[in-house]
Symmetry: C2
Subunit: 107 residues, 2 copies
């Protein structure tokens, strides 16, 4: 029973995988070969990581002849933003409640 947050955090936790995603965000669509050239790991490893990124919805693949082009799907980061925002809002609301309490005690 793993929710969307789980998948995102686990997927982005690996440095190699995150680096691949970052490159796709910065430089746009790339082939597996182009990604492998600077990844520092073997081609099968790159393919595997891209598969995991795809399963998490973070990238999309497009086949053109015998090469596969990958590109970042930024929308998949939404749950991450939501989660962070939610944590912040809870924290903020408790802070507000404390301020409220202090204000009332001041009277």
């Amino acid at each position: 029973m793993s929710d969307a947050h789980d998948v995102l955090f686990r997927t982005l936790a690996d440095p190699t995988r995150r680096a691949l995603f970052e490159r796709l965000c910065r430089e746009g669509e790339k082939t597996v070969g182009a990604l492998t050239a600077r990844a520092g790991v073997s081609q099968p490893v790159v393919s595997k990581h891209l598969g995991i990124l795809k399963q998490a919805g973070l990238v999309r693949d497009r086949h053109e002849g015998r090469q596969t082009h990958y590109s970042a799907q930024l929308g998949a980061l939404a749950p991450l933003v939501d989660w962070t925002s939610e944590m912040a809002s809870f924290w903020q609301s408790r802070f507000d409640a404390l301020e409220d309490l202090l204000k009332r005690m001041d009277q």
Copy 2:
């Protein structure tokens, strides 16, 4: 050479650990015992996770007699927000929640 993003993602990738952090965000300061009661894992495991969260700067501990109180340190999420924001900036996409969060965290 593990940067701040690495530590944050890896720390939050574990469901049990993330659940602990979420509870501290939602419900405020808690003792180890209180956290253990609903964590679904043993007390040593909870202590260990809290130690990892602390090392990542996500929580803070306060000793009071023989119990230890833990609380969330929301500021530690900043690098996460920055990273997401950076990725998003390459897309020139609008993330209202993110902008909102940045504004609030900027005090």
